[in-house]
Amino acid sequence: MLEARLEQANLLKKVVDSITNLVQDCNFDCNDSGIALQAMDNSHVALVAMMLRSDAFSPFRCDRNIALGINLTSLTKVLRCAQNEDILTLKAEDAPDVVNLVFESAESDRLSEYDIKLMDIDQEHLGIPDTEYAASITMPSAEFQRITRDLLALSESVSIECTKEGVKFSCQGDIGSGSVTLRSHTNVDNEDRNVSIDLSEPVSLMFSLKYLSNFCKASGLSSRVKLSLSNEVPLLVEYALPSNSFLRFYLAPKIGDED
């Protein structure tokens, strides 16, 4: 039996919105520590890992491990029926056929309830090791979104070069080339505007901009985004969520193909 009450439906709405661009259906693995999700896109070059810890819910109850195989498009449809401020409750039996969502409006006494049919999804689950990244950049998520959007106008791929000076996003396209460089920066007024670069060795990698801009759909979830890079290793784009939860995207770098 799973019962998870989320004070704000908004969180789940945004999480699902940002994942739904990457994968169609995936398993929500529920256990007593929370609700986790891991899924890859169709071409298996990007991976999304989400963890909503039980602390994010109040209350959270999950008696045994349940995998809720949900079609994300369906889930989006249902979540659209929820107001951002609604209280959302997820419910499922131990061997569920459906997952039940209840939206309670805080102001009015409106209570809406939806069931989504579950599906059996056979997904390979990857073990992601804890990696010491050579460089990690924390910046405003809006900034990252803007960079990807701007550069996508020129090219499909971006090279991210991280040196002591700063981080340089550059691309080369048919119409020309462009680059954005960010330096470590501390904003006194607003911490969210900070750009911090943690570097142990210089890194330069190429990534698909289409995927990156896709990841950026999660920008609404958190004001900050953290990019972690190491040579020859997938890029990690992490959006921190409240109560130690997170939404992480991994993207395989482009190697050897200089275009």
């Binding site: 661009n21 994968v23 891991q38 991976l47 990857l126 090791p129 995927y211 395989a252």
Partner: protein
């Protein structure tokens, strides 16, 4: 099987009394090997069996392998065990809840021995026929020291819900291997083998039987302790043998004719009592099924085929009625309605169905074996013959030694007794076969799925199912494509050249969340 009624029986006579006698016999005949597994086995034994009844190991007449039989020395009756187990997935265990002990004992003592089920065979396969009169429980591990330990108060859960039911067995079958020793003279016609046999005394046969069962002396003990058995055996032997008086002693020689007569009597009884449903379904209804030939037919006929189809597999008579119906719609309906009323001991509705479908006026063909242009309606005679043959083949395969089986079959084909003249049946079946082949040929020409279904051979159903599956998958695929979000579709266009799959970076580790 109906576990409910069984369980009521069961609580009526709790294991205690029965198992006490099984403990009695334990020290007396030390030869009984302990059952190989520890969990107790559930037996349904006749409750008119005396306390001296015991389980002996004898050679199975058909296979020659040792087999367990239940013998009641006082009545001289033999029982074989039929294991009745539910399908693997139906139920997994059995809860035995004994009633209060003393009450149970008292009741068992009072229970009068109703020996109404004297038929020696035939009810082996069909659990429905078995009249469960008493049950016993023999916890293999415990009954050596005491009685059933659990029998007192607490229940017991059997992990294996199989039941062993003791059903009466004609001891003739047990002696048959001795009566008809394997023909050492390998004469080809099985019938010849007994001709060369000598007339022998009963003792010789019984000695031979004892020799065959030399691996243990159950039978010897049994015969030694209960002379009644020997007499019973002799009676049965005489039923199947030609006899010659040699002085004051009677000598016996196996007569295939008499064996056949015995078998036939049993088979007839089996047919009269009704074959077990599964047997009827599989061997009688299936065999007599008439293939559907023509595509179009008059309205009422078509509608009836549908009705018959629905009924199929529900009840034997229904199935027959269906055939009648199909028949009536295929060709010249004769006296289907009459035959079906005859057959239909039950399911009046089916019969009515059949009779109403006689659309054209019934031709006035005679009532006996239909001539070649008459319809393929299985007449009463045919169905009876087929049932008889089914029963016979069941008996021969399960109780006769292989060589005797051949002899019996040979005898039946060469010099059939009037009661079992299977020639009309063979002729009928041959016609059905040719029709079936024809229908199959026709069917392969046409791609009319509906008609294929009506014909209902397994092969076509398989093919149809396959098609269905493919169609379903395709639809599913389309559905998926439609369900894909726009972004996902766009992402498909993304250039992923030079990008390794993530599985090349991250191991397929068990769980990292």
């Amino acid at each position: 099987m109906p576990p409910k009624t069984r369980s009521r029986h069961f609580t009526k006579s709790t294991p205690k009394p029965k198992s006490s006698d099984s403990t009695n016999e334990q020290p007396k005949s030390n030869a009984l090997p302990p059952p190989d597994q520890n969990p107790p086995k559930l037996f349904i034994l006749p409750n008119d069996a005396s306390s001296e009844a015991r389980i002996v190991t004898l050679r199975n007449p058909a296979t020659g392998r040792p087999n367990r039989y239940y013998v009641c020395p006082t009545t001289g009756r033999f029982f074989e065990f039929t294991r009745i187990a539910p399908p693997k997935n139906a139920w997994r265990g059995m809860l035995l809840t004994p009633e209060h002990q003393e009450a149970a004992v008292r009741r068992d003592e009072n229970s009068e021995g109703r020996a109404d089920d004297d038929s020696k065979e035939g009810n082996t396969g069909g659990s429905d026929d078995v009249d469960a009169k008493g049950q016993s429980e023999q916890p293999a591990s415990e009954n050596e020291e005491t009685g059933c330990k659990w029998a007192g108060s607490e229940g017991y859960v059997l992990s294996d819900p199989g039941l062993f039911i003791a059903t009466p067995l004609d001891p003739l079958f047990l002696v048959l291997p001795a009566l008809a020793p394997k023909p050492t003279t390998t004469s080809n016609g099985g019938k010849k083998a007994p001709d060369k046999q000598m007339f022998l005394s009963v003792d010789d046969y019984i000695d031979a039987l004892l020799d065959a069962n030399a691996s243990n002396n159950h039978l010897k003990d049994l015969l030694a302790s209960h002379p009644g058995h020997r007499a019973a055996l002799e009676r049965r032997i005489s039923a199947a043998c030609d006899t010659v008086d040699a002085g004051d002693e009677k000598m016996y020689r196996l007569s295939v004719e008499k064996v056949v007569a015995e078998l036939l009597a049993k088979a007839t009884r089996m047919v009269e009592k009704g074959l077990p449903k599964s047997m009827e379904e599989r061997f009688v209804n299936k065999t007599l099924e008439v293939p559907v030939m023509a595509v179009k037919r008059e309205g009422s006929g078509v509608s009836f085929v549908g009705a018959g189809k629905k009924d199929e597999g529900h009840e034997e008579e229904k199935g027959e009625a269906k055939e009648d119906g199909e028949e009536s719609s295929t060709a010249t309906p004769t006296e289907d309605s009459q035959t079906s009323t005859n057959e239909a001991s039950t399911t009046a509705s089916a019969t009515i169905n059949a009779s109403t479908t006689v659309t054209t006026p019934a031709s006035t063909s005679t009532n006996d074996w239909p001539s070649s242009d008459s319809p393929l309606t299985p007449s009463d005679q045919i169905t009876h013959l087929l049932r008889l043959r089914t029963a016979l083949s069941f008996l021969t395969t399960s109780y006769l030694p292989a060589h005797l089986r051949d002899a019996v079959t040979a005898y039946l084909t060469t010099t059939p007794p009037p009661a079992a003249d299977f020639r009309p049946l063979t002729a009928h079946l041959a016609r059905l076969d040719s029709l079936r082949a024809e229908a199959a040929a026709l069917r392969s020409l046409s791609d009319n799925i509906a008609r294929k279904r009506a014909a209902g051979t397994g092969e076509d159903e398989e093919a149809a199912a396959e098609r269905e599956e493919r169609k379903r998958k395709k639809e599913e695929e389309e559905q998926r494509k439609k369900a894909e979000s726009r972004a996902v579709k766009q992402l498909k266009k993304a250039d992923t050249s030079g990008m390794k799959k993530l599985s090349s970076f991250f191991g397929k580790a068990t769980a990292k969340k």
